[in-house]
Symmetry: C2
Subunit: 305 residues, 2 copies
DNA sequence: GAGCCCGATGCCGAAACGGCATCGGGATCG
DNA sequence: CGATCCCGATGCCGTTTCGGCATCGGGCTC
């Protein structure tokens, strides 16, 4: 028992007005209950019961304490069943609208971690562009959103954020791979592998290309991270992305991520958000806490580097 | 400690993020703290901390539990200090506006009982007629009122009530003393000892006197219970009152109380009331609970007879 | 006055707790 | 790359606490 048994003893005695009756109901000897009550009164310093010939009755101090004990035990029961629900399989699902980059590696890792503790929770992961994520959450099609912080405006609560520097992704042998920083202009000189025709970088990219009088047609346009990785590994060109989604390839040394030198690109951040004024069910609430610590880890690691 | 020490251990570990640090702060061996945490996790059935090389960190279940533990310990501290305040002498006073009858014997007895437990609480007892008691409380000059229930109207909360049958008080040897019931008319035939010129009974009394063509002048008019008792013991006449205020003399056999046969007089009730929507300080709140149990005792005793 | 039920208490074995020493593993620093 | 440090985990043991049993004294009931 997490809570001292004297709490249950006290409550039972208070409710039955008799130490012996309470002891019977608790399946312990009345002497044990009696001693716990005496010890409790000694600790509080005030009699909690008045002794009548027919049993005991709460004093005013006892009544006050009983409120506390009831609240405590009831609240504990609630907490306990909340946690039990999570561990078991009674709890519904957590729906997350997430940027494709974090959906690829980061989020599944978090889901796996969480699932180890709470195997009963189901997940629904939707990949979204920065324009859609907010709407998915606002429309109630997702419980939790992950998006760039600069587009998380009113109506949402930002719970955690972490740096997500944009940069160039290239194969290990690519000329850019050895640089510390690259500018958009640097990238414009190479064949490009782009996610889609219109991403958040597109306007800047177009102007950079136009300024250098280069062809605006990317070498490859694909909406699959896996395909993109293949193309990158084959040195087909330069992709523009955050490092999320490529972490394992970067760690393996096959792909390099070089942050942009432009601050407005290098300083982008991603965050976890939920609708303001919507109370999360217990499953999403627990997972969101898990997510937040993961984000805090990213932020700390990044700060340290 | 009323609450299991594991609560404090858990909170300390959660806040310091380290079992050893927590153990140092708690002045116990780290192994003891560690074991309590392990046992707790075993009971809950879910890890509460993730173990990092640098210490521990709460899981989402742990965070949920921490909220509960914090609430519990904080609330307990509050309850404890409330009770301590009462037992000690830090708490202010309890002001009671009370009908003269209950102020004489009943209320002092309750005050003495209460004072035995909580010697730090001071009292201010005001004797009031039925017209004044409500006003004293409403005006904030008293925290608690005791009055006839039929004049406790809106704006007050009636917390407890008990029968207060009105009747005739006479010396032991008086002709009425042997009767079970008396009517107002019976009394009108004897010299009267009245509290004041205008009490709640006055109109009925006057009409009874007038109907019998008797003198409306009472033999004695006095606003002191002590004086009234002396006059009664000397067989100076009949007093009209509830038995409250004369209990010891009745028990001693010197004075007799004969309830009225008229239901609207015999069925009068007195009650404890407080202003609706005013939060009582802890002292008055505790005393009012004490009072309520005392009233319940009266009601029960009376019902049994 | 006998019997009954109440809480309180002495006694004893069982269980829980805390302290000490130690282990193994990851982080850190020279 | 190894020495060191700090972390949580664990085996061992003395102490404390807890619960069960029997009993006591005091009101209440019949």
């Amino acid at each position: 028992m997490m809570h001292a048994s004297v709490l249950r003893y006290f409550r039972e005695v208070a409710e039955r007005g008799s130490i012996r009756k309470a002891a019977d109901a608790l399946y312990v000897a009345s002497s044990a209950v009696n001693r716990q009550i005496l010890k409790l009164e000694d600790e509080i310093g005030v009699p909690l019961f008045e002794r009548l010939p027919t049993g005991v009755r709460l004093t005013s101090a006892g009544k006050r304490l009983l409120r506390h004990v009831r609240d405590t035990l009831n609240d504990f029961e609630r907490v306990r069943s909340e946690i039990d629900d999570l561990r078991g399989l009674k709890t519904g699902s957590v729906r997350i609208a997430c940027l494709i980059g974090l959906l690829a590696e980061f989020l599944p890792r978090q889901v796996v971690d969480f699932h180890r503790l709470y195997p009963g929770v189901n997940f629904q992961l939707s990949s979204c562009g920065p324009e859609q994520a907010n709407e998915e959450v606002a429309a109630g099609r997702a419980d939790i959103g992950i998006n760039f912080t600069d587009v998380i405006y009113g109506g949402f609560t930002l719970l955690a954020e972490a740096p997500a520097p944009q940069g160039a992704l290239v194969a290990a042998g690519h000329p850019l791979a050895s640089q510390d920083r690259v500018s958009l202009m640097d990238c414009a000189g190479y064949p490009l592998i782009l996610w889609s025709e219109a991403g958040p970088l597109t306007p800047y990219l177009r102007s950079a290309l136009k300024a250098n009088d280069l062809d605006a047609t990317p070498r490859a346009l694909c909406d699959s991270l896996e395909a993109m990785k293949h193309l990158l590994r084959a040195n087909m060109g330069v992709a523009l992305f955050s490092r999320f989604g490529f972490e394992s390839d970067i760690a393996a040394g096959e792909i390099a991520h070089i942050p942009f030198s432009e601050p407005f690109l290098a300083d982008r951040r991603v965050g976890v958000f939920v609708p303001a004024n919507r109370k999360l069910a217990i499953g999403p609430a627990m997972f969101v806490e898990h997510l937040c610590t993961a984000f805090a880890d990213i932020a700390k690691t990044d700060q340290g580097s």
